[in-house]
Symmetry: C2
Subunit: 354 residues, 2 copies
DNA sequence: TTTTAGCACTCTCGGGTCGAGAGTGCTAAA
DNA sequence: TTTAGCACTCTCGACCCGAGAGTGCTAAAA
């Protein structure tokens, strides 16, 4: 397979661009007229035929215009798309919004989802930052009734986990507090492995509590991500390809079933990548539910410390450029925020910063 | 306006029943055939004409069958519907599921939404139990860096609030812990008014912290409900009235915009009620977005202590009987769970219970 | 007075036909 | 290699039409 000619690249780009806007098959004359091409429609037809031959375009029926195939999109995303950054103004506005809520992790994530949905005009998904290995920052035990105790576990990064434990016998709040302090001291900034190693040295109440701590930690470690925050569902229903309720329902099903989503977002071996951002087009042949969809995914955070993902889910005919650049921008922004939170807390009281 | 005759009531009920199942205008002959009525179609036609005259039915066009009007649904719900409880088996299964996760409030709520959506075959919304007046169970202060402190507030009922505070000057973890203990002692089980009364007696660090505590409490008090948990969106998109994407989008918009939802759920002055459960049909003329929708809402919990709402949102042509009975059942179940959690915690260490 | 059979009438819905329009591929000339 | 010309194909919307379902009215039966 030889390289496409420059002209073919231009034409493929234009077809995709046009199709993304109009959602209708694009024909040769139309193309020439709209983009004031310096050649005749017949020439364009030649090239269209060639691109069709190569599998990058197809015709819904003979004597209709062309629409891009999955292959076409893939080639476009991996070779032709030019990195376009968001306008300075928007970047600044968005940064400012994040700055205002830099203290509340949940707020970032919501905001990120909202911005992403708005900019890409599709559905967005964002997972909160998730520590690679959960590390304890603080442990608290609060007596509720008799043998029932509320355990609150603050993790480094600000995540809070709670669990109710039922002890073998009632224990006073004083004892509980002491136990909590003791264990906090012992395990501060430790991850599950370190705690497991020390487990044999414990006794009495501590053992019981630590068992629960361990279960929470391993559970947290195992979970690829907590909740997934969604936004912009309506954007995606507005798309013409989903007017037939058939497709619309499948769409919603995908977003409803968190299992699939998590699979999806965590899956890293996707085919087409573009500057750290991965693009999954048309389900890549294996995800049947996504046959008509594309997913653009990026990640953020500090690898090894805490990471999260953010993605855009839209019709194959989506604006990849906008999705990619928004994800890239947000990824940087969120990474900074994570760094701020995590690094500061790992080395407590490490001094003043303006 | 005279009362409807018995026969008219029967026929209205049947029309609604039939229309709910088929979503198609129902005609006289069809009705006689399907329900083996002991009269001729001509007689039924007379009654249909009368019911149409009264405004309970209408024809999409002359020479089509009848479909219920909003008035028709209202009359049906308030006068004709017969309370049908869920089958014993289902009740037991559901109770069992709730029993298994009685310790985690978020889990209940999710489960309630899931059950409600499944039983009513429509979209469900459930808010977590929300204390009338937030009362503190435990306060914790955790130093993160320099002047930055993570405040964790455990409320009675198990809700956890966190906020980052920035102090005027760095304070050691010891001092923070002492302060937290002191304030926990002082304010345990108190609500915001009581705390405000004592505020003048405080000094130093405490003042700063208590200010933030107050802001969290008043914020919590003000919020009608926290997050709203949704489920069963796909159920509702499956309905034939929403195949035209126009309506489907409006549907999603409603569920997307939390503001509207909160308004809706908190609004108690709805027209048609049925055994503690309120039914809002077709937007009641004022909610334009809900013109084609109905909402069935109930509440649960302990009035004055902690309450939450649960509702079903579906097409006007929804199975009100099922929605109402499911809501009523779940409402009882959730109320019990709330009682268990709240009452126990209000009187700590009140003894053993099997 | 109420119910019912009969009947003419109305309206929707699905299928079939048809012409306009858009687009193609091919051929032959520039 | 590009382009003008042309015959051909396919979709889409408009239109028509008949079948079917349902109605309201009338007059007879109960």
């Amino acid at each position: 397979m030889t390289e496409l000619s420059e002209r073919q690249k231009v034409i493929l780009t234009l077809v995709i661009h046009e199709y993304i806007q109009t959602a209708a098959p694009v024909g040769s004359q139309n193309l020439v007229a709209r983009y004031k091409l310096d050649m005749s429609s017949a020439t364009v037809r030649h090239e269209l035929a060639a691109l069709t031959e190569r599998g990058f375009l197809r015709q819904p029926h003979t004597s209709a215009g062309r629409i891009p195939t999955e292959e076409g999109y893939r080639y476009f995303v991996s070779r032709l798309i030019r990195a376009s950054d968001l306008p300075d103004m928007t970047r600044r506005t968005i940064s400012h919004q994040f700055y205002q809520m830099r203290h509340d992790v949940e707020q970032w994530v919501r905001l990120a989802a909202s911005v992403l949905a708005h900019q890409s005009r599709a559905a967005s998904l964002v997972t909160p930052p998730h520590p690679e290995k959960a590390r304890i920052k603080h442990l608290e035990l609060i007596s509720t009734r008799g043998r029932q105790v509320l355990m609150v576990l603050v993790l480094i990064g600000g995540e809070i986990r709670q669990q109710i434990l039922i002890l073998d016998e009632p224990v006073s709040q004083e004892q509980l507090s002491q136990c909590a302090d003791r264990l906090t001291q012992l395990f501060q900034a430790q991850e599950s492995d370190a705690i497991r190693a020390r487990q044999p040295q414990l006794s009495g109440l501590d053992v019981d509590v630590v068992n629960h701590v361990m279960s929470v930690l391993t559970e947290t470690d195992a979970a690829v991500s907590g909740e997934v925050y969604l936004d912009g569902l309506t954007n995606v229903l507005a798309e013409p390809e989903f007017t037939g309720s058939e497709e619309a329902r499948r769409a919603l099903r995908i977003l409803d079933e968190r299992s699939l989503l998590q699979d999806l977002v965590s899956r890293t071996a996707l085919s087409t990548t573009h500057g750290g951002v991965q693009v999954l087009i048309g389900g890549e042949g294996t995800w049947d539910e996504l046959r008509q969809w594309s997913l653009v995914v990026g990640s953020y955070g500090l690898p090894g410390l805490a990471t999260g993902s953010l993605g855009v889910l839209g019709p194959m005919r989506m604006s990849y450029g906008r999705a990619i650049s928004t994800i890239r921008f947000l990824s940087g922004l969120l990474s900074d925020l994570v760094a701020e939170t995590m690094l500061d807390e790992s080395t407590p009281n490490s001094g003043e910063v303006n």
